[in-house]
Symmetry: C2
Subunit: 202 residues, 2 copies
């Protein structure tokens, strides 16, 4: 069964089952997995090998009505999706605070900025000002290409839009300012390798 957010995006439940499925299928081609599934699998890989502790935050939900059947678990009967006020992923790697958002697009020549919300942008600016490591992971689904783009660049492109400029980042700009992450097997998206090349860790 598939769910969709009000904006038409598919809801992908973040369950252990999903992660296990990811781990299993990562031994062979796992095309068709969502970016979230690939990242969950990668984060599980990092966690199990004690490389980093990075988790996706639960989907924020406003709970309105809960039923308490006797002798069984509480059932949420009415709830609504809420907009997240932060990015989806955070954690710690080599003593540094890590914070990022992951988004995918079907376009192949540019990445629309409407994938981000104003409070996420504010949050990222805040993380940078507190000396955290902040970035976005962008996937071009049709091209099967994944890039890591540091938040300072995203903030520049956002600012350009606010000044009346284009509402997207061109593929060329992402290639210039971002870092291509080759897809692997385990982990599927080895984004920490990119961070190793960008930052000085103790």
């Amino acid at each position: 069964m598939k769910f969709h957010y009000p904006n038409g995006k598919q809801y992908v439940p973040n369950t252990n089952k999903t992660v296990l499925k990811g781990l299993k299928s990562s031994t062979y081609s796992n095309r068709g997995m969502t970016l979230e599934e690939d990242l969950n699998e990668s984060n599980t890989y990092y966690l199990e090998r004690q490389i980093a502790i990075i988790h996706k935050k639960p989907t924020p939900v406003q709970i309105v009505n809960v039923d308490y059947p006797k002798r069984s678990a509480a059932v949420i009967k009415e709830a609504y999706f809420k907009q997240a006020s932060t990015t989806d992923y955070n954690g710690i790697y080599k003593g540094k605070y890590i914070d990022f958002e992951a988004k995918e697009t079907k376009f192949s020549s540019s990445f629309p900025l409407k994938n981000f919300h104003d409070h996420q942008i504010q949050h990222m600016a805040g993380v940078l000002s507190h000396q955290g490591i902040c970035f976005v992971i962008l996937r071009f689904t049709t091209l099967e290409e994944v890039y890591l783009l540091e938040a300072n660049h995203l903030l520049n492109f956002w600012e350009r839009m606010l000044q009346g400029g284009r509402k997207s980042i061109t593929k060329g700009e992402i290639e210039t300012h971002g870092h291509h992450i080759p897809l692997g097997f385990t982990p599927r998206i080895d984004y920490l390798k990119v961070l190793d090349s960008l930052y000085h860790f103790n």
Copy 2:
């Protein structure tokens, strides 16, 4: 309307309304606020003044059934509470990764360890090994006393329990190893002040 978790604990929705209520009532005595409400208010205070970026993670929920009425928001019709695999709060302060759990007890002479789950303990041990700052905030509700106890001490008490020792931490042990946080107005629980006295920040 009040909800309760299967374990009988009251469910406190983490809404902006709650935070605003906290901010308002913090100008006078706000006895009766839960520890979560006080911490949300404190975190909002830190966030607005650009002191730190620390958020409570959303309550993890397993979504089973969603309805998509025409022209209105998607309604979650069936969902269940899931056990969190991490602590509830994390973020960044002065460039350091911050991670903690907050719990309250009605007892006044000891704090039961059953308030914590095994994966939370594993998570805290992991955060320490990655050089994060990790602790618990413990409230004795009847005494109206709040303590910050660093995770390494909690891990020792947990280990003592696993070795067949007592299943709680005595009040005296918390006074010895923990740090009393006097309740204030804004912020209500100024736990970062305690961290300032314990860690070297740049």
